[in-house]
Symmetry: C2
């Protein structure tokens, strides 16, 4: 299990990766990062999930918040607000702005996102190879019903169904209304970024951390060729449930799971991925009763503690995932 590929979203993926690095410090880890929640703000390209992984593994993350930079200040944001330039609901700090300025400048100069990410990581030294899932533009949009919005949330215009950027749904609306569909716009014509398919083909094991199965791992899997490459790699694919005790550990995964018709349970998420993709699945000990349902779906399942309360607990989760991978490959 020397070469490990991890499909990661933001906070959950990044914290899991820190545990994984702690559990197997010498492993060759390639992270395929979700870029579906990338957004252009103030003319700058913001890649929240890539940055969360980079900052977390590079020691620059705001630990309490789980995203953004530690010791952050907000002079730029305050000034933009003074100019009346929004959105104000996306809290970019000054240090974070610098990352987006460097990224945008490099993209404008013609470098693909994968090269830009490598350049940014030259500073952060995350100890993993961080690849965006694609160099092409993919933006997850969420279809909502404007009738569900309260007056302060509703904008101009009289449409009843409205597609909003994932960040608007997640950050501005705090997933307070139902998601009727989740669409990774642009995914159908996106190509995996350079290195992605090779890393999958060369992997000894592929892990799905407890990231959001719809808008994080699901978006990565929506890039044509990704799902097939994983299936064809012929190596154990093991995931960790982001749902513990019928509620998401972090975030509002239940809302977007409902949009794709999946119950918010550890077992339902495993069944959603399916035995064609997943070989093993870890559920939390409180969900031990659901292991049989997962096994019945053809996926090896174990119940272990899945709360990422610290690096030690998270490292233990990573060890359990690798142990399950050994088991299914035996």
């Amino acid at each position: 299990m020397e070469r490990i590929v991890v499909l990661a979203g933001g906070i959950g993926g990044a914290r899991f990766l820190r545990g994984l690095k702690s559990a197997v410090p010498d492993a060759d880890v390639t992270v395929i990062g979700n870029t579906g929640d990338d957004i252009h703000l103030f003319g700058l390209k913001v890649c929240p999930d890539l940055d969360t992984v980079m900052y977390t593994l590079g020691g620059g993350i705001n630990e309490e918040q789980g995203w953004g930079r530690a010791e952050e200040s907000f002079a730029v944001k305050d000034e933009l607000a003074a100019y009346g330039v929004g959105p104000e609901w996306f809290g970019l700090g000054d240090r974070d702005f610098a990352t987006h300025i460097v990224r945008t400048q490099m993209l404008s100069a013609g470098y693909p996102l994968s090269a830009v990410t490598e350049a940014l990581c030259a500073r952060w030294q995350p100890g993993v190879t961080l690849l965006p899932m694609t160099d092409d533009r993919v933006e997850t949009h969420v279809l909502i019903d404007t009738a569900d919005l309260d007056e302060s949330q509703r904008g101009e215009g009289g449409e009843s169904r409205k597609a909003v950027h994932f960040q608007e749904y997640w950050v501005r609306l705090r997933a307070s209304v139902d998601a009727h569909a989740v669409v990774p716009v642009g995914a159908e014509s996106a190509k995996p970024a350079p290195g992605v398919l090779d890393a999958i083909a060369d992997a000894d094991v592929i892990l799905f951390p407890p990231s959001n199965p719809v808008v994080s791992v699901g978006t990565i899997l929506a890039v044509p060729g990704m799902r097939e490459a994983i299936a064809e790699a012929g190596v154990p694919v093991v995931g960790l449930s982001p749902i513990v005790g019928d509620a998401p550990v972090h975030g509002m995964a239940d809302k977007v799971l409902a949009a794709v018709g999946v119950e918010s349970t550890a077992a339902a998420v495993a069944q959603h991925y399916g035995s064609g993709l997943l070989d093993g699945w870890l559920v939390d000990t409180v969900d031990a009763g659901s292991t049989q349902a997962v096994e019945d779906a053809g996926i090896r399942c174990r119940a272990v503690p899945l709360m990422m309360t610290g690096t030690d607990a998270t490292a233990a989760m990573a060890r359990e995932a690798l142990a399950l991978a050994e088991e299914v490959s035996a």
Copy 2:
């Protein structure tokens, strides 16, 4: 003298304008701002002279420094340096960055610089109409001799003559080497920005503040049609010498004056503008001996205190300039 047009550079122009506003608060002042020292930094469009005027008249300037924002912080700059992204010699603060982010976003959306400047001024309320000299890209470059540079200043490559951006010459090299030529690249095909020619045609008086005669006022005059419009306006054109006692009051005007073959004296600058353009010229009292030479060149000349030591002193200078304008038009 209701309608006043001022051709302004950065610090000197901005401080003079503050005095002018204090002297004639009800006057309708249009500022034609130099954009020749605009520069793209970190993928952002920076307009130092326009911003200095806007911040100074809008109450946001760093008074001591004369440029940049008051109460500034430098988190973004420090982070860019941590990424190894330069140049480090141009000290952009966090608050200032916000201005450049808003400007760049609007320019990318297709708005011309004049519209962007108007939008930025909606916040700052400078009390004047601030127009860029042109919406087209003009960048002043300075021709230097690399043999004049010391080792730390010299880059790669073996050229002997080298054109550097004005900001590199002024800020990085601090005008420490001779300027062999000053070229407003792009000026020959630039058009005056919307409103510029109308403001000149409608003016009752046109003032040249003690801004740099080569790289500030000179660059504005290099825009085709500008010089002709001023001459054809048929109204008094009065300037204030930026040279006092044979040395520039601020900055390093002597270096760029030498590049165009003009002595660093109050009289020589007046003669450089010439009687075809200038009707009146103010020199400092220490240069009272040079008034005759200016008068001999066909330009009405008075010696008055020209040190902008505060708003009162600067307002008095503005009153003297307007009085001289009345005199020449009588």
